[in-house]
Amino acid sequence: MNILVIRAPGTNCDVETVRGIKECGLNAITVHTDKLLEGSIDLFEFYALVIPGGFSYGDSVRAGAIWAAKLNSKLLNSLRDFIDDGRPVLGICNGFQVLVELGLLPGWNDNSTPSVALAPNISGKFECRWINLRVANVNNVFLRYFSKNSILRLPIAHSEGRFIASKNILSILEKNGQIAFKYCLPNGKPADMLYPFNPNGSIMDIAGIMNPAGNVLGLMPHPERAVYFWQLPTFPSNIAAKTYFGDGYWIFKSMCDYIIEHFQ
């Protein structure tokens, strides 16, 4: 059972993303977007799609915009069928930006005009730091191994991650339970826009959202960089705790186990 990790020129997190998935017992392969567009590779050979981080097409126009336009031109309908079939789609960082640009997140309507946006960070800078996340909803494919309100530690690394939506859109997101994570303080209290706990100025501290069905997730933090204990900033003190995996592992594990449960 293969998972597809697609890449484009400028994608640079595919190797560690594949490694994280393989650690959970499923196989993952990286395929260039051109191969999918040519039709030489069929999306439906795969049970999940992961769009990894990077600077696809050099972030021209806007982060994710060109990649989304390429996918939009030939693959949008297949992607919608893929999602309707219940197969998981995970967008990490640049992948989140792509899902937003494609309209697959929040994933409400059939037109592909985005209804939310990821704007340049309010600090005006690229930000690479470990942040705290509070899990807002666990009823989905990716966060089943966490309990609601548990606090995760994951790193972010982006310059366009400020989540923006209108009040109206935000209230629908909240009502539908589509907010996956929010940035928080180390003690779990809301970051309330406080920098650097909310590292980019995202409205309502939103770090990741999903579609109403819970099989499409987009998030700015990088789970593939928090798979093992030795990747965490608490290393080497955390050796004593003897927990081998970091929080990122459990996101991949949840997705992989879901696939095994539903498609085998």
Partner: protein
């Protein structure tokens, strides 16, 4: 020369009958940057050939004989004031000599390829290269720094290695320099700082290579010229490293199209900046495109893994001219090149411009004829452009054609052997008046002031703009621990199936140059090694990067010789080989020469990353030990700078004390006796202990009368002396006896100076027994994190 038709875009230059004055006039007309001696050598060569040269041939010499490409000063004959030989060929006599004499089996390639190589394990090797990009960054800080990073990544790709880490070391004028005091044509340090930092982040982040270590320093000696060092570390299966090209193999250029950017970059890198630099140098600045380089990386690795090429090199300084000639030399032959085959971005390029253009993101390959189709397919599948532009030949001539006309025909050997330069050097010890000053009264305030100074404060505002986590293998990060304190070195775990790690650190002590460049170099080596050893590094290899003033002036060259001599003495003394290096000379401005700067980069290994040690205190009630000897060495120290006093003694290196200290730390880490280690560096003991406390949730209490010192009877000297060879260590209390017995066995200088506390605070008792520092962790953190706002 055959083929005597009209040659498109090519000028014949009247050289054979030119006298010295005319030669020099030609030199400046064509912007060749050659010396009279070199021009005369070229004239003689063409007299022998019996024909006038074409412009493209002269431009070839301009590039291949540039200081940037041939290291003429390091390779030259240097005389003292009386005309006696001081040293012949510093590279051979000092730098390479260390590595040759040590003769380690784990050094795979040194001072030869685009990058140095050491073995990592049975299967893999590590490639390392550090470049300077000072001149371009002074003119265009964003583009200059970005292309510096791009260039050094291609150096590593140029030995078939996959880039796994970047480092950068930057030196600027003080950020608060008044705008009015800056001469015309020179940019303000703040502008340069912002641009350079942005450029480095832009390239490294886009490429997806983590920037894991580095340094930033400020000094008025950098107002006129900035320093931008960019380094790259790569991983290559050892069997894949090699060069198999043969005559008949095709020469293929891959990547960006060739344009007019970067024309004369290599000769520009060896000229002096002034008011005119901006206009004249604009074409020398290159335009960065990291996404093309990301595609190049994928292509290079695929070509390597499928054995589709017989040789590779990057197109760096001097462009095609330099790359083709150097590759031809490596196969012991020559080359035939058809310049009209090169893919270009402007149709009106002259042939010589194509030949020496330094357009970025291009690599040159030699490909056996039988593999050319598969090679090109692989390249095209990454959306890259490529052109087959010629082939290598058995005879040792470089022949360049443009639309069937032969426009350059020169011997490979002649192109690679400029006449040896002979230079005079003189160094006289500066006369420094030892200034006397009172001991300060308020040590708490002084420590906070030092912590918040631009030289010592947290580099967080810069480090956070570089992705140091991408690739997911960064174990010890540049900011680490509960409060993200400063790390001495970075640790990378490059292989999925092995716990073995790579340790990367730097040493940089430019301020000591004003006192004595010899001890500046020695201190830089000591610091780079100390930093590496702090986290658990060993089997260390080092790289040298010199940034100096105009070597045609005897005083500049005199101090350079002293620094290079120290490199031999101390690398040999510490038994660490040089594997690569690069120099940038002619760093001068209307404000005078640059502050003479040597960067030492150290790359070590750690057998198991799970034993790595960080600087943050890990528990309370553990003993704190200081190793090494504290001397009244405050010359060039951060303390003297902040109280604005000159003079003092430069820190020296006592090999015996430093080595026993280093061995003690290494052995204690291996045995698991220590919880935290930090070296004593800028700001001395006072700053090191502060950094250990501010990084952690615990505190420390120390007594200055317990410090092993000589000729010191004041608290400020004990706290802020920058003597080399010292470490501060949190020893696990149940292993204290074991630690002491190793220290005694090694004959190390050491003493217990205090304990860790459960409260996050710093208490220091002075020589008179009273408490002279009482600060909370928050005080220290707030001060340390307050600086570097630009």
């Amino acid at each position: 020369m055959r083929n005597r038709g009209i040659r498109q875009g090519v000028l014949q230059v009247k050289l054979l009958a030119a006298d010295d004055e005319e030669l020099l006039k030609l030199n400046s007309q064509l912007n060749l940057n050659l010396s009279l001696k070199e021009l005369k050598t070229i004239k003689k060569y063409f007299q022998k050939l019996g024909r006038e040269p074409f412009d493209i041939e002269l431009y070839s010499f301009s590039q291949l004989w540039s200081e940037h490409c041939r290291h003429k000063v390091f390779r030259g004959l240097i005389l003292d004031e009386n005309g006696n030989i001081l040293v012949d060929d510093m590279l051979k006599s000092y730098i390479a000599k260390v590595t040759e004499e040590l003769n380690y089996s784990w050094v795979i390639s040194f001072l030869k390829d685009n990058a140095g190589l050491i073995s990592f394990d049975d299967e893999y090797s590590i490639a390392v290269k550090v470049e300077t990009h000072n001149h371009p960054s002074a003119i265009d800080p964003f583009g200059g720094a970005a292309t510096g990073v791009g260039g050094v990544i291609r150096d590593v790709l140029g030995v078939w290695a996959s880039p796994i880490a970047l480092i950068d070391v930057l030196c600027f004028g003080p950020l608060n320099t008044p705008y009015k005091s800056i001469p015309k044509g020179i940019k303000h340090p703040k502008y340069l700082f912002r641009g350079v930092v942005k450029g480095i982040g832009f390239y490294g982040n886009n490429m997806g290579i983590p920037t894991v270590a580095g340094a930033i320093c400020f000094d008025k000696g950098y107002i006129g010229n900035v320093v931008v060092y960019a380094g790259c570390i790569g991983l290559v299966p050892t069997v894949k490293y090699g060069f198999w090209a043969k005559p008949g193999d095709q020469i293929v250029i891959v990547g960006n199209s060739t344009g007019r950017d970067g024309i004369h970059g290599a000769s520009f890198a060896s000229s002096i900046l002034d008011e005119r630099s901006e206009e004249v140098s604009r074409p020398a600045v290159q335009i960065p495109d990291p996404i093309v380089e990301e595609k190049l990386r994928r292509a290079v690795i695929k070509i390597r893994d499928e054995d589709l090429a017989s040789g590779i090199t990057d197109l760096g300084g001097g462009g095609l001219a330099v790359a083709v000639v150097e590759l031809a030399d490596r196969i012991g032959g020559g080359a035939k090149i058809f310049l009209d085959k090169v893919h270009v971005r402007e149709s009106n390029l002259l042939p010589w411009e194509i030949w020496i253009s330094e357009s970025q993101e291009r690599m040159l390959f030699s490909v056996p004829k039988s593999k050319i189709n598969r090679f090109l397919e692989t390249v095209y599948s990454e959306n890259l452009e490529a052109s087959v532009i010629g082939e290598f030949t058995r005879d040792r001539w470089i022949r360049v054609y443009y639309f069937n006309n032969l426009i350059c025909e020169v011997e490979t050997d002649f192109l690679l052997h400029p006449p040896k330069i002979v230079r005079k050097a003189k160094w006289s010890k500066p006369i420094l008046v030892e200034s006397e000053f009172e001991e300060p009264e308020d040590y708490g305030t002084l420590i906070l002031k030092l912590l918040s100074s631009d030289d010592i404060c947290s580099r967080e505002p810069v480090i956070r703009t570089y992705d140091h986590e991408v690739q997911g293998n960064t174990v010890i990060k540049p900011l680490h621990g509960f409060f993200a304190g400063p790390s001495d070195a970075a640790v990378i775990k490059p292989l999925n199936n092995s716990w073995k790690g790579l340790v990367i650190s730097v040493g940089l002590k430019p301020w000591y140059s004003r006192l004595d460049p010899y001890w500046m170099a020695a201190s830089s080596i000591d610091e780079a090694l100390r930093n590496n050893i702090c986290v658990g590094g060993r089997r260390i290899a080092i790289l040298d990067n010199f940034t100096w003033g105009n070597p045609e002036k005897p005083d500049r060259l005199g101090s350079l010789v002293r620094a290079v001599k120290a490199c031999y003495d101390f690398a040999k003394g510490f038994e660490v080989p040089f594997i690569s290096g690069k120099d940038s000379l002619y760093n001068e401005s209307p404000l005078g020469p640059i502050l003479e700067t040597l960067l030492i980069t150290a790359v070590g290994i750690i057998p198991d990353i799970r034993m790595a040690v960080t600087i943050d205190l890990k528990a309370s009630k553990n003993p704190l030990y200081l190793t090494g000897l504290t001397l009244p060495e405050l010359g060039g120290s951060r303390y003297m700078q902040i109280i604005e006093h000159d003079g003092g003694s430069v820190p020296k290196v006592d090999l015996k004390i430093s080595k026993s200290s280093m061995n003690l730390i290494r052995e204690s880490i291996d045995k698991g006796y220590v919880n935290a280690v930090h070296d004593l560096s800028d700001g001395g003991l006072g700053i090191s202990i502060s950094e250990m406390v501010l990084s952690s949730q615990y505190g420390a209490e120390i007594w200055l009368d317990k410090v092993v010192s000589r000729n010191i009877n004041r608290d400020d000297f004990l706290l802020f002396s920058e003597s080399n060879g010292r470490f501060l260590v949190e020893v696990k209390r149940n292993f204290e006896d074991n630690f002491i017995s190793i220290a005694e066995k090694l004959g190390a200088v050491f003493s217990k100076i205090g304990y860790t506390l459960s409260n996050n605070c710093l208490l220091i008792h002075g020589l008179k027994g009273s408490l002279i520092v009482d600060l909370s962790g928050d005080d220290l953190r707030n001060a340390w994190k307050s600086g570097l706002r630009a």
